[in-house]
């Protein structure tokens, strides 16, 4: 395609989406379904986003159970497949399940990229590739995105540019060149070498596990905090990466996982000495290494947005967002994909949203598109009426089968409003925080982890402005149905719905 044929030439659009990974494409699909005209721009050459590069060694960390005994392309199948983008049309769903190799339950990067690409093709999504967003202006209540191809003016910009820029803490001697993103995948690169990895999160363990298969002489993971193994539901760590930890705990020679702060990294004799200090010991640990890897995290490439007033969190690495993923400080600037993690939600018992994963943010994108359509473009979406006898069965069904509630625990909820005669209007899936902090009467049903990490259905009812929260009983097989649940819901809803 010559540049003249590329879609979305510079100009004015109601909405501009930046990014062609799963976040950008899910948003574009959802806007298209709502009839919101928009442009999609991407600096990349093809769809797929971060999965074209990451994870470096391993398969993804999220499940696709392709053999699940549920029709593909249904909402129910989404529970079995955390990685496919979601759509109304059955032929657009479960595209990762179609591609995952036999015998695997987590897709490879290539399978993921192929599925994202197939989604774009089958859904007829257009993207202007090779078009890089470079800077931004705020003008007359609109937003101007300055790109390598020219200027795009819009009412709302949705930035789905990922959280994959390498971030290195300001430790003297630890440089960007040491970052995880530049770790070589050559099979012999680390053979017989001593490697210190700074960090103890997923990327640290992933790379540690992968390179230790090459025949390392010594592997040391070091960072101040112990790995979060006690609370796996809250921890981003995946147990299948934990071989280095297992070997450390059992005393394998040359395998260490240390809780210590890194003071500095010194270059010595063509290698390194990592100076580490453990709060409980007086003397410094000197870790000699041939290679140092900084598995210290990532940031979102926000370009000049912080200078325009977009508030950030975690030392500028993420934008601070409203529950609808809009910049807290600059209206009209929205975020999708991985960056939607900038809105953690109510964080009850310390559990934040699952917006760092496709399984979470694919639903955020749908809610975001609806929010943009309704609040900025006056689109009125129907609120289906549930008659009195339908309300409780509907909520029970959602608590048992809604993938939005199951994956975005404590973040997304099914919301109903009273409609008279015991009936209710279905407001759809909304951020729970939006319901909790509003004033209107209604009911919100969600799933949450409690303080012990047990999954429980939780129902919030507001009547005459007073909010009441009730956690329903947990069930060992997560079957929230039968008399106990029916009666609890009826008791809660009767005063509200009549």
């Amino acid at each position: 395609m010559s540049p003249g044929d590329a879609p979305f030439p510079p100009g004015e659009y109601p909405v501009v989406v930046v990014g062609s990974g799963p976040g950008g494409l899910q948003t574009s699909y959802s806007l298209l379904r709502l009839g919101i005209d928009h442009a999609v721009l991407s600096a990349d050459a093809r769809p797929g986003g971060m999965f074209q590069r990451f994870p470096l060694f391993e398969r993804l960390i999220s499940w696709t159970h392709a053999g699940a005994d549920v029709p593909r392309g249904t909402r129910e199948f989404e529970l079995h497949d955390q990685n496919s983008l979601v759509a109304e049309e059955p032929e657009l769903g479960a595209l990762v399940a179609e591609r995952i190799a036999e015998g695997h339950r987590r897709p490879s990067r290539d399978e993921m990229v192929a599925a994202v690409q197939a989604f774009a093709e089958r859904a007829g999504l257009s993207v202007r590739f090779g078009c890089r967003w470079e800077s931004t202006r705020l003008e007359d209540g609109g937003i101007v995105l300055v790109t390598s191809d020219g200027e795009y003016r819009c009412r709302a910009a949705v930035l789905a540019v990922g959280v994959t820029e390498p971030w290195v803490p300001p430790i003297p001697g630890l440089e960007l060149e040491h970052h995880y993103v530049d770790v070589s995948s050559a099979p012999d690169r680390y053979r017989d070498r001593r490697v210190v990895i700074v960090g103890k999160r997923n990327s640290a363990f992933e790379v540690g596990e992968a390179i230790s298969r090459q025949g390392l002489r010594e592997l040391t993971l070091v960072s101040p905090r112990p790995p979060e193994l006690g609370r796996l539901a809250r921890s981003p760590l995946r147990p299948w990466y934990l071989t280095p930890y297992d070997e450390h705990v059992r005393g394998a020679p040359g395998r260490f996982v240390l809780n210590a702060s890194v003071d500095r990294v010194e270059r010595r004799n063509g290698g390194y000495v990592v100076h580490a200090l453990d709060a409980s010991r007086p003397e410094r640990l000197l870790l000699e290494a041939d290679d140092v890897i900084a598995a210290t995290g990532f940031y979102a490439p926000l370009q000049d947005l912080p200078a325009l007033g977009v508030a950030t969190v975690r030392e500028g690495r993420l934008p601070a967002l409203t529950p609808f993923w809009e910049s807290m400080t600059v209206p009209g600037v929205f975020f999708a994909g991985n960056i939607s993690d900038g809105a953690p939600g109510l964080r009850k018992h310390g559990v934040a949203s699952l917006s760092t994963m496709v399984a979470g943010f694919r639903y955020n994108a749908r809610v975001l598109a609806r929010r943009i359509a309704e609040s900025l473009f006056g689109v009125e979406l129907p609120r289906p009426l549930l008659r009195a006898h339908e309300v409780v069965p509907f909520l029970i069904h959602e608590l048992n089968h809604a993938p939005e509630l199951s994956f975005q625990k404590g973040y997304l909820a099914r919301v109903l409003r009273p409609a008279g005669d015991g009936g209710a209007l279905d407001e759809g899936i909304l951020p729970l925080e939006v319901f909790v902090d509003a004033a209107d009467d209604g009911v919100a049903a969600t799933l949450e982890f409690d303080a012990e990490e047990t999954i429980r259905p939780v129902v919030y009812v507001r009547r005459a402005g007073v909010l009441h929260e009730e956690a329903l009983p947990a069930h060992p097989l997560r079957r929230y149905e039968g008399r106990v649940y029916d009666e609890a819901l009826e008791l809660m809803l009767r005063p509200l719905l009549g």
Binding site: P169, P170, I171, V198, G199, S223, P224, R225, R231, R234, A260, S261, D263, L277, D278, A279, T296, G297, A311, T312, V313, R314, E315, A320, T322, M328, T329, P344, L346, R347, K348, H349, G350, V351, V436, D437, E448, D450, A451, L467, H468, E469, A471
Partner: protein, 138 residues
């Protein structure tokens, strides 16, 4: 992972003023940071699952049954009452400006205080001061 800026910021807060590096860095890695827009609720009266917050920047109001009762600023903390006593918050805490807080999930507070007794002592002093002031007013 937290950088040296966040460690320096912690060192300036009374609550953590007895800690030295590398303990401060452990604290920086234990707490997360969260930002709230002016008007947004941080803690919600009657809603379970709260956390412990320390204000890094901005101001917050303590609101009980719709009435403003107190203002909180940099270095002050909230959320500890419901976490330590195991109930639901007895007040709303609302951001009055853009509010930047350190946040520690409720289930982790007790272990954190036991690991850092000097922080517990500073916290106790602050709570005692609040109690004294409340007694004076009544």
């Amino acid at each position: 992972m937290a950088g040296s800026d966040s460690v320096e910021r912690l060192a300036q807060l009374t609550l953590f003023s007895d800690l030295r590096w590398p303990e401060l860095e452990v604290v920086a890695h234990t707490f997360d940071e969260e930002v709230f827009a002016a008007g947004q609720r941080v803690l919600r009266q009657g809603i379970s699952g709260g956390a412990f917050y320390v204000i890094l920047e901005g101001e917050a109001a303590v609101v009980i049954d719709g009435q403003d009762r107190a203002r909180l600023g940099r270095g002050e903390f909230f959320g500890e009452i419901s976490v330590l006593l195991g109930g639901v918050p007895i007040a709303d805490v609302r951001a009055e400006t853009l509010l930047r807080c350190l946040v520690l999930p409720g289930p982790q507070l007790e272990a954190f205080l036991l690991e850092h007794p000097t922080v517990m002592l500073r916290m106790l002093q602050s709570v005692a001061r609040r109690l004294r002031d409340a007694s004076r007013w009544s």
